[in-house]
Each structure stands twice: as C-alpha cells, then as structure tokens.
Amino acid sequence: MTVAEMMAARDAFGQALVDLGAVNERVVVLDADLATSTKASLFAAAYPGRFLEVGIAEQNMMSIAAGLAAMGFIPFTSTFACFASKRATDQIRVGIAQPRLGVKITGAYSGLLAGKTGKTHQSVQDLAIFRSMPHLTVVVPGDAIEVRKAVFATAEHDGPVYLRLTRDPSPVIFADDYDFRIGRAVTVREGGDVTVVTTGLMLPRALEAADQLLFEGVKAHVLHMPTVKPLDAEALVASAERTGLVVTAEEHSILGGLGGAVAEVLAEHRPTLMKRVGIADRYAESAPNDSLLEKYGLTAAHIVQACWSVIDAAQVLESPAAHA
C-alpha cells in the first residue's frame, strides 16, 4: 500500500464552507466560540456578514439557527460533537427536528480524538442520540474529500442534518470525482469472505485491516456507510448475503450507533453472524491518539481480530459437531 496523502477533516470543512458560501448566499454560519478549532473561522474571514458568533451558548445557537432556517437561510452551526448532541439536544429536537427546519448541525472533534481533552469533550454517544431523532439525517464522512462533498450535499438536502466531523489529519481515501450521495453506501474494497461496515475515520483503519486479512488469506468486503441514517439497508443486506459475516467499525459507543443500526437491519432482513468494533459501554480519558485507539479497541488490529472471531464462530456452527 502506498503512503496515503493526509488531510484533516476540519481543514476540508472550513474550506468547503468558504466555497459553498461563494455559490450559495443563503448559507450562514453560527458559532459557539469554537470557530478557530472547528475551522468555521475560515468562513468568518471570508463572509463576516453571514457569520454569527453567539458566544458560549449552544442551546441559544440551535434555537437561533432554527429561526434563521425559518426565514429561508441555510444555517450551519459550529461546535463540538459532544456539545451539539448533549448540551443542545432538546433545542434540536423541538426547534429543528420536529418542524424539519433545514439547520445543518456540525459536530466537530467527534469520537475519541478530541485533541487530548478527555471524556468531557470526546463524543461517543452522538450517533445514538441523533439516530433516534425522527427527521434527522446523520452523515459521517470518512476522509477530507468526503467531508467536502458532504458539506455541499448537506446544504442541498431538504431538512435537518447532523454532520459528524473529526479533528486530526487522516488518510485521503476518495478521488476528487467520487460521487457522494446522502443515503448511499459505497464499496471501497471488494471481497467475499467477510463484510466490514465502516463509518467515519474507521474507514482507513478498516482498509488497513483488509490488507492484513488478505495477507492472512481472507478477502474482506469493505462497505463504507457515510450516512448512518437513513442506512443503506439494501447495500448492507446484499453484502451480508454474499459474505454471511459482518463486522461493524465506528469511533463511537457500540450501543446505538452504526453497529446498532446494522444489527437492527440484519436481525429483521438477513440474520447474520456479526461483531461490533467500537467503544465499550464506558467513558474514555485524555491521552495521546494512538494510546486511546489501542486501549479502547479502535485499531486495524482490533478489526482483524473481530473478523477472525466471526469467521471462527461460523466454522464452529458449520462443523459436524455443531449439528450433532
């Protein structure tokens, strides 16, 4: 595997907002004193008249955004994923989701890699919270290219969206001409032995795992889900039909996020042996990125291990002893 180009999702986000602002005058950006971290500051510099600093007041920001959406604007809100999903949940539920107002809620610094800020700033429940909220679309890009495309698609999308973003540089996976669509899964690696369903930054880790698995004689099918809601159930079930084994990978709690969504679909449409890679039901801590990924089970090696565990489980089920 060649060394991939690295690019930070937040830089891609800031630049995409600027470029979007140039072609769409209805785009406004609201920030709760984190613009320099989320990179919404780039938009602020380019279009000061369409940038609103609301101060450290996430609840106020969401309800103000609802009012702006009702006046015909396309508001993007800028704060961390942890605050968007927890501090302002009720404002999003009542003021944005219920009336289907087209506010685009961006959640920066999602997952564990929140710049060594620890469990108060890490966000590993946001997918579970927003996925359970009717009318919300949940988008989780896997690289900087997908972030850029998701920003434009989100603005076009009729209705509220939660766009989950990350802080640090990560490998660029997609080509510039990649055709991103909200609600559509994308096969990033073909394989027939086991399906690895990914979202967000677990995509590069899953590809690394697929390389390792190939070395070990297993062909993994990497199915990337940049939209966690609505989930592309058709693509998921088709892949599960083909491989019979599914592993999910997300930088989020194993409760209620991608793993939960996949399990719900498969249980009803195509019961399949599966394993969830993600953060166990616990809070994490502040530490260097690599240490966090290792301790909380989010590396390529953890994905490889999960794949082997479903392969082994399937073999046990299929062995003559199991039917005796």
Binding site: V28, G49, R50, L52, V54, G55, A57, Q59, N60, M62, S63, I64, A65, A66, G67, L68, A69, A70, M71, G72, F73, D90, Q91, R93, V94, G95, Q98, P99
Partner: protein, 277 residues
C-alpha cells in the same frame, strides 16, 4: 393606525377567552390560566399591531410571532381562528388525533411560525427570525414573542437576552405574561425572578411595564418598541392568571385543570356578562 377602537379590542379579548373555554371543555385537558391572562396581548398583537395577512400565512414580509409559553396554545389557536387563518371546524379539532392544532404549537397549524412547548426556547428563535429579517434587508418586518414569567427561570432566556442586545435587534419585541403563578405555586415562592425590569435593563433591553389587561397600554408599548433604535424591547405585562373567570383568577389550581360542563357553563356566563357590561 389600527382601525380598531380600544372597546373593539376588549370585545375581541373577551371572545378569545370564551373560545378558549369552549376548546378546553372540548378536549378535557390543557391550561386555562395562562391562556386567559394573555387575551389582551393576543387581541392587540393580532388585531392591531402585527402586519399580517391571514390569506397568505407564508407571506415573506409578514411580522412573525413565537409563542414561547407554548402551553397558552388554546388562546393562540382561538386568536388565529378569529383572525381568519382557519375555520371554526378546525378549531374544534384541538388536541384530537391527526389535528394540526396540537396541545403545544406545531408549524403544521396555519399561522404558526415556530414550534414551542419546551420552555425557554422561543426568545432564541425570535432572535433568529429577527436576525434573518435584518440579513434579508426586510426593515419592515417585526418579530414578537410571548414568554411566561415562570419561564424566566430557564437559563436559555438569558442567553437569548444577551444575544438580542448584542445584535441590537430593534425589530424584536418580547412580552412577558407576568401573571405571578406557575404550575407548582407563586413564581416568587419557587425561584424569585424579581427585580425583573432591572434584570432586563441590565441585559441591555428597553423595558416597558404595562397593565397586561389594558389594551391601550399594550398598544402604546408596541408603538414605543417600534420607535426604539439599537436595542430590543421587553414588555412586562402585569396580568391576572385566569383573568375574566372569577373562580380561575389568581389560582394555581387553574394553571392546568380540565374544564367540565359545569365549569364551562359558569365561565361562559361570567364572560358573557362582562361583554354586555
């Protein structure tokens, strides 16, 4: 300016109260007290002050209204119906299955600009609407919101208060229905909100205090708000909870209680007598 006399507005307020009683009797649920206290505010806003066109509820240049104290939905709906946004038939579906007239305001209801029900959010929404109007260059569009006095205990109200002053939103008027009672008792026995006028003044707002049942005072406050430049206005409307129905007045019990057939009969009798008188 309004084309309606004070006497006409008083008659309208009385009619809104009677409609409210009818609706609450029909649904056997809801909040009579906080609806009845706001009758004159609704009468003035919808029949004298606001630039609206019921035939075009989505008219872009209309004034906006946010009922932050969403539990006053009954009198809000009564107002919208009387003003011509929808028929009496629709009003009768209040609180019923599949009705757009939900227990708390929903944007599916003709004339409702923003949803509410979870307290403390309406002023922020109104700030967003007022900012939007200014960004669009719609100088003539004014935004109004009505909050409860108990609602002042919500922290978000004060986030919005800071923002409204910081953005110098002189196209925004917030009303506080100061009826002194909330669900569990007198506001100032739960968590006192006084000195309320001083608080809003300190937050950078133009403050007006009125008798919330005097239509002329409410109208004057609206006119004053329109003339103020560079800051939003808050109108503290001193009211009586349950106003107009003697046994509901100033009573915590009638914040939320079902209107029985007998209650309806007595309440309508009193309200009818008041109109004739």
């Amino acid at each position: 300016m309004t084309g309606r006399t004070d006497e006409e507005l008083r008659v309208i307020a009385n009619r809104l109260r009677r409609r409210t009683i009818e609706m609450l009797w029909g649904s056997q649920a809801g909040h009579p007290g906080g609806s009845l206290s706001a009758a004159e505010i609704f009468a003035v806003l919808y029949f004298a002050e606001m630039r609206i066109d019921p035939r075009r509820p989505s008219w872009e240049d209309r004034d906006r209204f946010v009922l932050s104290k969403g539990h006053a939905a009954p009198i809000y709906y009564a107002t919208l119906m009387e003003r011509g946004y929808f028929s009496q038939d629709l009003l009768c579906t209040y609180d019923e299955l599949d009705s757009s007239l939900q227990a708390h305001p929903d944007v599916a209801c003709p004339g409702v600009d923003m949803p509410s029900g979870s307290l403390g959010q309406g002023l922020s929404m109104a700030v967003g609407l007022a900012l939007g109007a200014r960004l669009l260059g719609k100088e003539g569009v004014r935004v109004h919101t009505l909050m409860g006095d108990g609602e002042q205990q919500e922290g978000q109200v004060w986030e919005a208060a800071m923002a409204g002053a910081a953005y110098q939103l002189d196209n925004l008027t917030a009303f506080i229905d100061r009826n002194r009672l909330q669900l569990c008792g007198p506001v100032d026995e739960l968590i006192p909100i006084e000195p309320l006028a001083d608080k809003w003044q300190a937050f950078g707002w133009h403050v007006v205090e009125v008798d919330g049942h005097a239509v002329d005072e409410i109208q004057a406050a609206c006119a004053e708000a329109r003339s103020v430049r560079g800051r939003p206005t808050v109108v503290i409307a001193h009211t009586v909870k349950g106003k107009g129905v003697s046994f509901m007045e100033d009573s915590v019990e009638w914040h939320s209680a079902p209107v029985t057939a007998e209650v309806r009969r007595r309440a309508l009798e009193e309200l009818a007598a008041e109109e004739v008188g």
